[in-house]
Symmetry: C2
Subunit: 205 residues, 2 copies
């Protein structure tokens, strides 16, 4: 079974043996002839796929009622197999969602590490540093790199910890954030497992 | 006594009767003939002023040893009259500095509200919202505007409150942030009071 999670930059494919990505810019979805179950936060890709019969949009089988109207379909699907956790999807944006005893409590959106680094740089070239994920967050900063690293990471880490729930990390930057949450579960299959659950529930295969 | 705090965008003047700003782009400092005591984080303006005898750079009279090497001179001066507080200077960047019993404990730098709004917008047009400063931070978000407002504001507010110190707010966006810290002292003269203290200590007038 071929699955695909389409974002703003890539088509992320997964089947029982492989996990691979193609750039949204270059990839021609008509080049795939087998059946693909997909979700897409990318409106343009979604429209393109409407004319391809072998691409099945899972969005139509998802119960949105538990979530809010403008919530990205990828966030909803990632939560499909979660009953009690804070889910951090660390990509170009970081989405944080809280599920407690099976019920969606809400979430928030924080800038991803590249976007935030760009943000500091745009304020002033004096703030053009990469983040130090090994910073001791127990101490306030006494140099510029630590001052922006602390600003980006410390309040975020405390906010997540304040939920007192198991933490699940997914997304392209998950391994960086794992340094801040050593007890977190790193699960890069979260969204695909959610898709499989939806496929089974809808009796699609 | 005419004082001037020069930033990346403006010359901010203050004397006993007036407070006014001129854009860095258009303003000609040679148009002022009286004595001006200034500080500048703007390297270009600072260089320009070296040839004007009536512009006195206060940086030479400041003891930097208590602070870190790359710390902006405006942050150091703002702390000159503070003995026990968290100082939040909310401008294009938000600098947060902690002074406890007269000793500088360190600080951090967080993006200002316009920079952060731009940051979310650059990630995705779906995140192009202004922040809701009246959001109930006790609840996680269930719509996109609240999701970015919560992400920007909630971890920051909790970080500040965790210091358990009086809060002093200054800078162009201080009044927006006052909504989040109702007990904070709003002090737009903080930097000028710091400058006066340095002038007195150095016996400059």
């Amino acid at each position: 079974m071929l699955l695909c999670d389409i974002g703003n930059t890539s088509y992320h494919f997964n089947n029982s043996t492989q996990d691979f990505k193609h750039s949204v810019k270059d990839f021609n979805p008509a080049s795939i002839t087998e059946k693909v179950f997909f979700i897409s936060v990318n409106v343009q890709s979604k429209q393109k796929l409407q004319i391809l019969d072998n691409w099945i949009d899972l969005e139509q089988f998802i119960d949105r009622s538990k979530y809010y109207e403008t919530m990205g379909i990828d966030r909803i699907v990632a939560l499909a197999s979660v009953t009690n956790a804070v889910v951090i999807d660390a990509g170009s944006a970081i989405t944080v969602d809280v599920v407690k005893k099976g019920s969606f409590e809400g979430g928030f959106i924080y800038p991803g590490m590249r976007a935030m680094q760009e943000c500091y740089k745009n304020i002033s070239s004096a703030l053009d540093y990469s983040f130090n994920f090994e910073l001791d967050l127990g101490k306030m900063a006494k140099n510029s790199q630590d001052a922006i690293s602390y600003g980006y990471l410390k309040p975020f880490v405390d906010e997540i910890k304040s939920k007192n729930l198991p933490i699940i990390l997914t997304g392209g930057d998950a391994s960086e954030f794992k340094k801040l949450f050593p007890d977190a579960i790193l699960d890069q299959e979260l969204i695909f497992n959610g898709m499989k659950k939806i496929i089974t529930k809808a009796g699609l295969c």
